[in-house]
Symmetry: C2
Subunit: 669 residues, 2 copies
């Protein structure tokens, strides 16, 4: 266990170094500092309230787990509940640290753009994002190791750790997502569409809330999302190694070693970006991602060669190098998923260009076309995932499926760094606009934002693919724990489970949509009110009451996340108790099947609608201000909650239900 502990401490050391590197940068003018401070305050206030509610959930659930009736074994109950709390704390802490630095990096990125151009801005933004990335992997792996050592590697207890991380992820992702999109839609619909003022205009009272949203949704929310995937891919492999009757014990250590190697490779990747970013930012980000991926693959080969042994699983024999090839299957399928997200959502390719052209006939065809693109985009990724499932199973059984997930997630540090840097650049642009800096600064930050898009697409592919693989691993572990040898798809209880599970992502999606709409609706009313009632606001003489808007988003997000979150926890328990573990296995698979489809569809519909708008704004089919542009603005507003609230939450939902089922498996026998 010493290797993963050292690796995670190195990651945390790097967090400290990067944090100081960000903070020592120049913050810019007093107006910039003021705006950044408002964003920091808003984000902190939201996170505090969010964490209070999450804390209550965590306490109730851990109390229930610690209570004897849930487990046959009282000792097992409280141990699991301790591990559960540890997982929740690790995730919450990572989100807090990452967001604190991200909200400090924004004005410094603006200042970097002002004084150092694209290169100056890139370095601050990447460092800010890397804090989130390294906090995620460092804290979660360190916590996992501690739990592992304290509880003697008891696999049932360790599953509780994953459940804690998963619970926080669902609330953070859905709450953050509702916050950011409610604010965004509200700001856009009144500001851009009704009042005709530009994006991020300081007169718009919802703009600060919109910028806060970028941080709590796309930085803290995303971080907790990938932290969960990361932890679960490791734990799924551990659980399978313990439960499914693997013949070799060294297979338990391999996932931890690969995760350690991934951390070091991610650090090298980030350093690569810092060094090469001066000359070619686009190539440098891609390069850093490739460097860390290739180093991880090489390390995996070495680790599996050294520690792997031929093994048997459920009576089948597998070769020692099987887990390595399974990892490669995972990585390749993740890259394919990412490639097709890029193809269907980038305005360099046909689908988005066609969507932009169809928008000439008005917003109805834009929206329909956007939905159609997302649906079409499920085809090849799903074929790739299905192929990877069969191949990784062929190479190393169900252990191989978990290893495929781990393959995609070993470089989580790097992936989160690249993903979090986008919202920092976005914030920097907002600050430039609000502080009325020269438009050239805004151009730099916009450029910075778009540079990371391709790399982020691959990250998205990894997130979706790994969610599927990790939940398959958890499913297999659950079935073993709950003594379900076979769940036949024509068995009526399994079928009922499949149908209910398949429905669940639809139901939760509808709730999240409603929550975003409600928050946006209230935001719209408030912005309209301020425009009307605050004298001098539209003339730019006084500042709007931004705090009120942050408060509306906060309340909307908290209210909106509670019901879907509670349902996701209660449903597997109810199905398991009322219909039995066979039906619960069906539920998990049903949710996986529709969840993967909706996850891919929503991410890509949203992306395509967003980029169709950008394509028009570049001057095509009439450009900004034309009817075609208006159609795509409406399309983008429909797509926003799809890609940033609902789609990502569905990914977590699948995994949360799987991990709850696994932890509570003894209850359903």
């Amino acid at each position: 266990m010493i290797i993963p502990i050292i690796a995670s401490l190195v990651a945390l050391g790097f967090v400290v170094f990067l944090s100081f590197d960000v903070i020592k940068q120049n913050q810019g003018s007093s107006r910039m500092i003021e705006i950044s401070q408002a964003i920091q305050d808003g984000a902190k206030a939201f996170l505090k309230r969010e964490y209070i509610y999450i804390g209550i959930f965590v306490l109730i659930i851990s109390a229930l787990m610690a209570a004897a009736p849930l487990f046959t074994d009282v000792e097992l109950g409280w141990r699991t509940s301790v591990a559960f709390i540890a997982g929740a704390v690790a995730s919450a802490l990572a989100g807090y640290i990452g967001m604190s630095i991200a909200t400090r990096a924004n004005c410094r990125t603006t200042q970097g753009a002002l004084t150092g151009g694209l290169q100056g801005a890139l370095r601050v933004a990447v460092s800010g994002g890397a804090v989130m990335g390294m906090s995620v992997v460092g804290l979660s792996l360190l916590g996992l190791c501690i739990v592992y050592i304290v509880f003697d590697g008891d696999p049932v207890v360790i599953n509780g750790y994953a459940m804690g991380a998963s619970l926080v992820a669902l609330f953070a992702r859905s709450g953050g997502g509702i916050f950011t999109k409610g604010a965004d839609m509200g700001a856009d619909l009144v500001g851009k569409v009704e009042a005709g003022i530009p994006e991020d205009d300081p007169r718009n009272p919802a703009v600060i809330a919109d910028n806060v949203g970028d941080n709590v949704g796309d930085v803290a929310g995303l971080g907790s999302d990938l932290l969960e995937s990361y932890v679960e891919s490791i734990i799924a492999a551990l659980a399978i190694a313990s439960l499914i009757g693997l013949s070799s014990d060294s297979l338990k250590m391999i996932p931890l070693y690969i995760a350690s190697a991934g951390i070091i490779a991610s650090i090298i990747g980030i350093i690569f970006v810092r060094i090469t970013g001066r000359s070619n930012p686009q190539g440098s980000l891609m390069g850093g991602t490739y460097v860390s991926a290739i180093l991880t693959a090489v390390a995996t080969y070495v680790i599996v060669s050294k520690f792997g042994t031929d093994f048997t699983e459920d009576g089948h024999s597998y070769l020692a190098m099987g887990p390595f090839w399974a990892t490669i299957c995972g990585v390749v399928s993740g890259i394919i998923v990412g490639f097709f997200s890029e193809y269907y959502t980038s305005n360099k390719y046909k689908p988005v260009k066609k969507l932009a052209e169809e928008s000439k006939s008005g917003p109805a065809l834009t929206v329909t076309g956007g939905i159609a693109i997302g649906m079409a985009s499920t085809a090849f990724p799903v074929l790739a995932l299905a192929g990877a499932v069969m191949l990784s199973y062929h190479f190393a059984g169900i252990y191989g499926v978990a290893m495929a997930a781990l393959g995609m997630l070993a470089t989580t540090g790097m992936v989160v760094a690249v993903d979090s840097y986008g919202p920092i650049a976005d914030n920097a642009g907002g600050i430039a606009e609000m502080a009325k800096l020269d438009p050239s600064v805004r151009e730099i930050t916009d450029n910075l934002d778009s540079v990371g898009n391709t790399t982020a697409a691959i990250g998205k592919g990894f997130a979706i693919g790994s969610a599927a693989f990790a939940s398959l691993g958890l499913l297999a572990a659950f079935m073993k724990s709950a003594h379900v040898d076979v769940a036949d798809i024509k068995d009526p209880r399994v079928l009922a489970g499949l149908l209910i599970g398949g429905m669940f992502p639809f139901l939760v999606s509808s709730m999240l949509f409603e929550a975003v709409s409600k928050a946006a609706f209230q935001m719209i009313e408030e912005v309209r009110r301020q425009f009307k009632e605050i004298p001098g606001l539209m003339e730019g003489k006084v500042l709007p009451d931004s705090a009120k808007c942050v408060d509306i988003s906060t309340k909307g997000a908290i209210q909106g996340m509670l019901l879907p979150g509670s349902l996701a926890i209660v449903t597997p328990v109810l199905v398991g108790l009322l219909l039995g573990p066979d039906a619960l296995a069906g539920l998990l698979v049903g949710a996986l099947v529709t969840g993967v489809m909706l996850g891919i569809q929503m991410a890509n519909s949203g992306g395509a609608l967003d980029n169709a708008k950008k394509y028009i704004e570049e001057g095509n089919f009439g450009g900004k201000g034309s009817d075609t542009h208006k159609a795509t603005v409406i399309g983008d507003t429909v797509g926003d909650p799809l890609k940033d609230t609902v789609g990502p939450s569905i990914n977590i939902l699948i995994k949360l239900m799987a991990v709850i089922s696994l932890v509570l498996a003894p209850l359903f026998i």
Copy 2:
């Protein structure tokens, strides 16, 4: 076999009676006759071209089936291919007859409204719709009996009959759906939105195409859709009785007797509407539906009491009355599904009212809200279906699941009659508008249209529920035929099948969306061109070139239906051959799970968006012409293809893949 033959001949006799009853009515003024003739010609021209393409598919597939390599048994091959052709012909013929009378009933309904008010119009429209309904049940049951007798009740051969009906249904539904929505969106977007002229204005060149679309999509397409469900529910029960090792032979006859009873009950229901319709049209339609449903339930009780015996299936024992209770489960779940469609889509209830209110913030929130309503509406129907699956299984095993489907579909004659009467009333309204009759006539036909909506919602519930049950029955029969004893959901091949199957409805949906958008786009360009280039058109001095618009929709529909149709045929074959029958079983279940969700979601999203618009038009939240109204018009345009093209086609897709797998099962062993 004499009973079902007599019942189907009675149905066909009733068709002849009703047809004469429609034709003998007054057609109205020469302008009305002219318009009706144009609609007839357009519909016939489309159906002719559509049937040529379907014919080519049928011939190729039957030739392949007759060819030895597909089947181990050459004789079985050509017999199946003959049954396949018979199923296709029965469906095509029913569609043709129904549509011929429907396109003749339209102007006569207008005239009925003019001279006899609501009651006068109701009678013609119901008779016209009933022709479609009784043709569907009469022809399909007669054909089935003939095939059964000719081929000595060989279950494998009879499955071919279902496959023929299914193939025609997919093409007719998707082709008709693309036609009608392409024309509708085109007519609305240029006419209503751009030129600001009312719906069905004679100056709009796309209006005739729109009216043709109502007939080819909502009459012929819907008829072939329910014909397929009807045939498959009977055949699934027959196949299970033969394959699954039921101990009693009389169980084979029960489905045919219940179907016969349903025909007679439907005829009584239609006569009830004709008699009572004079005083209270709304209550009369509901009453007729209830009368036929209750009579069928009573008859089922009598039939099962008389012919049922205790039986064993796969080693489990079931009581003689089990199949009756299974039927009741099906009917109750269908009513629940229908009730919730009504709740989520009617503007009498909260969801649509809230959607209308949200539309005050613009079209983006309308569309998002509409999608959310559809997603939320999956919850209770799916719980009802899952419960009904478990209960009907409990009462009579997998045979019970097929009987549940039959319970919903026995009254297909009545359901189709009520469903087809809507588009006839819609057409009648269009003719009133184009012939410039007094607005009071239009009011009557609009009222007539809305009267049938609640009844139609229950029909929709039956269509969706029965599709799920019928395909579960076919799935079980397939697994038995293909010697797949167990398909475990954690088996990698089954999982791969589940994922690919789950993706398939998304892929096909995207293709259908694209086809509708493309047809609408071309229609928009053509209407704009005619408005600009034909002198005197906008002043109402000359008539537009409607034939050109019909031609555009026809081409768009034919082109659009070929690819998804071919994929639906080829995919199960490829998966079965490449990945094996286990994966194919997974594919069918995966498609079922996402297909049921998308089917319900799309139907109800579309319905809610439609009725939110109507709610605004009734004068709420600003009424006609307000910004809120514009937002809901855009929402309705997005919802239209959801509910009338894509959603219904997905239902058929699920069943078509299941029946193809069943027919070709010997190939995959």
